[in-house]
């Protein structure tokens, strides 16, 4: 009997093993101290403080929407990488590759996960913004982080927008045509925008259909081969790169601005 009492459980022995201790130094998180150390010692978990006020863990207060937006960003990155295995961003192959993905890839719901996830992310980001507004959490000292959040929300929509073109179907090119037609009316740098005709040397217009901001965005005068490549690069690397930097700032600033908002 006495022997059994002193026998350590499997979990305890595991927590003392060299492998475990090399990963989680505080052992199996059981005591209060160990649990706090587990959070502090993890690069992912230490986004959070070790302890939180009670209201901060209530779904009724936070709606989980910021966390879910980040989660969706991860899901979209993973599914996006898988989609890149199959998809070639050329006018010749883009559409047929999409058909291929649906018909040839076993259990293929990656495109569905990616597309619906993207729509869902626009929604979760909007809802996160709404929650932050409703709780007045943008107020000092969190003004700057609200601004970063607004930029992230804009970029989320731009990410979704650039991805919209890639299937290269009717829905895609006409939605992008409608969207990018705005750019031609950009003041000064769009060829049909106010002030564009002022940017001229003598009779030569500097801003015309072949040199304006829309041309830069599309790589041409209409949505074509070059636009597909540009949107692909922006969608897969360009915008996510900026988003990741801003996300790092956003998360870091939550902690630096005093953690989650709450009543004083």
């Amino acid at each position: 009997m006495e022997k059994n009492k002193n026998k350590k459980s499997f979990l305890e022995r595991m927590g003392e093993s060299q492998v475990w201790k090399s990963i989680i130094r505080s052992g199996v998180p059981r005591s209060r101290r160990q649990r706090m150390q587990a959070v502090l010692g993890s690069v992912f978990l230490h986004l959070h403080p070790a302890r939180l006020p009670k209201h901060a863990v209530k779904v009724g207060y936070t709606w989980c929407m910021g966390g879910l937006s980040f989660f969706l960003f991860v899901v979209l990155t993973i599914t996006g990488i898988l989609l890149m295995f199959y998809y070639r961003p050329t006018v010749e192959y883009a559409y047929t590759d999409i058909i291929d993905m649906a018909e040839q890839v076993p259990l293929g719901i990656m495109r569905e996960l990616h597309r619906w996830g993207a729509h869902a992310m626009v929604l979760t980001v909007w809802l996160h913004m709404l929650r932050v507004f409703m709780t007045g959490s943008y107020k000092p000292p969190r003004e700057f982080n609200w601004g970063v959040g607004v930029l992230l929300m804009t970029l989320t929509m731009f990410l979704s927008f650039t991805g919209y073109l890639l299937p290269w179907d009717q829905l895609a090119i006409w939605a992008i045509t409608v969207g990018t037609n705005m750019a031609r009316a950009h003041p000064f740098i769009g060829h049909e925008g106010p002030g564009a005709s002022l940017l001229a040397i003598g009779d030569i217009n500097l801003v015309h259909a072949g040199s304006d901001v829309r041309f830069a965005l599309l790589g041409g005068r209409f949505v074509g081969e070059a636009s597909l490549l540009r949107f692909y690069v922006l969608h897969c690397i360009g915008v996510p790169f900026i988003v990741m930097i801003l996300m790092a700032v956003h998360f870091w600033r939550i902690r630096k601005d005093g953690g989650i908002s709450g009543p004083l």
Binding site: M36, V39, H48, R115, E143, S160, A175, M182, S197, P263
Partner: protein, 372 residues
């Protein structure tokens, strides 16, 4: 019986009526002053933010979609795979706004009694992130992933015919989250609706914390303490953004003409377009003469109206109605607040000028692509 109901909904959802209704009703739903608050209480609109209000709202939304699902015309737009996020949007926005207003009213009542908001806990009595937060995050993540997988299995991602630059679909629509902007195109030129307003929305939203000097209501749900800010934001968010998205998605058919939800999208629907510029009103109709050759003279009335609205009106307000407010927040904040606020207000103003007077442009200089 059902047909009559559908006809009534079709008529009521015409933007002139539905938008007016929303705009008039809005201050009574989110009362920005004591007087509106009184009516809000008296008419029982506050019940919207109680549990019966929640059930009522959910039943109304669901009823609308169910009737729409069995309607041959609405069925087409409603069941487009890419429109499903908007159904989600309508539900999630209603649920979350109801939930925050419900908690806000509870807190308002507590604060009135001198109690702390319900989010308040003893600062020394904290919970541990491991496991108290981590497992909530984990559950939320799993549930959401299940939802996403089920959605992905049930609904195939949309794919239409291969891109064909020679055949323009009618209507051509931007992705749903930009349809509010596309809807603005009806009333403003692309350089405003597509460039200036989106920039103002982004910069204006980023400027909110700097313009809103009200320190109250930070870190808990509340309404009364910040009712004016809340009213302005909610009007912009709900009416000028989300409502326009719903209109753009469900109610805009061929040639961007308006169709009620249960109406057939007739591509041959003829809508008279006899919109008139302000300068034409003044020179031709009022003064009975030709348009002056000088562009600036021709549009001088429009420029005066614009300068009066964006420049003179804020000064006038600062001296009279908003005098105390101007002194409280100072000239810099006031200038930005007026710039963004009046731009936001310009959208409904232009809408009504279009509907009432067929006004096309206040300043019309197509020669320079400068139309407002």
């Amino acid at each position: 019986m059902l047909q009559t109901f559908k006809d009534i909904i079709d008529i009521l959802s015409v933007p002139t009526i539905s938008f007016t209704f929303l705009t008039v009703a809005f201050p009574f739903i989110f009362p920005p002053s004591d007087w509106f608050e009184k009516v809000h209480r008296k008419l029982g609109i506050w019940r919207l933010w109680t549990k019966p209000g929640f059930y009522g709202g959910m039943i109304a939304i669901t009823g609308f979609f169910v009737i729409g699902y069995f309607d041959p015309n609405f069925h087409i737009t409603l069941t487009k795979a890419d429109n499903f996020p908007i159904v989600l949007m309508v539900y999630s926005m209603f649920i979350t706004i109801w939930w925050s207003m419900y908690q806000a009213y509870e807190n308002d009542a507590r604060l009135e009694k001198g109690l702390k908001p319900m989010e308040y806990n003893d600062p020394d009595d904290k919970v541990l992130v491991w496991p108290d937060l981590v497992y909530i995050e984990f559950i939320a993540l799993i549930l959401f992933m299940v939802f996403l997988i089920v959605w992905s299995i049930l609904v195939a991602a949309p794919l239409e015919e291969p891109a064909n630059p020679a055949s323009t679909p009618n209507p051509s629509k931007a992705p749903w989250y930009f349809l509010g902007l596309q809807e603005m195109l009806v009333y403003f030129d692309p350089w405003i609706a597509g460039i200036v307003f989106p920039m103002f929305i982004i910069i204006g939203m980023m400027a909110i914390p700097y313009m809103d000097v009200n320190k109250k209501g930070d870190g808990y749900y509340s309404f009364k303490e910040r009712r004016i800010g809340m009213f302005i934001f909610m009007y912009g968010w709900l009416v000028l953004w989300l409502f326009l998205i719903v209109i753009g998605t469900f109610f805009r058919g061929p040639n961007w003409n308006f169709f009620g939800p249960f109406e057939f999208w007739d591509p041959h629907k003829v809508v008279p377009l006899n919109n008139v510029n302000l300068s034409e009103y003044v020179w031709v109709k009022l003064l009975g003469q030709g348009m002056p050759a000088n562009i600036l003279l021709r549009e001088s009335i429009g420029f005066l109206a614009l300068v009066g609205y964006m420049g003179f009106l804020p000064i006038l307000l600062a001296k009279t109605w908003l005098k105390n407010y101007f002194q409280e927040i100072g000239p810099v904040r006031y200038t930005f607040l007026m710039m963004f606020g009046l731009s936001m207000l310009a959208l409904p103003i232009k809408m009504y000028m279009r509907w009432l007077f067929n006004l096309k442009y206040i300043i019309a200089i197509p020669e320079w692509f400068f139309n407002i």
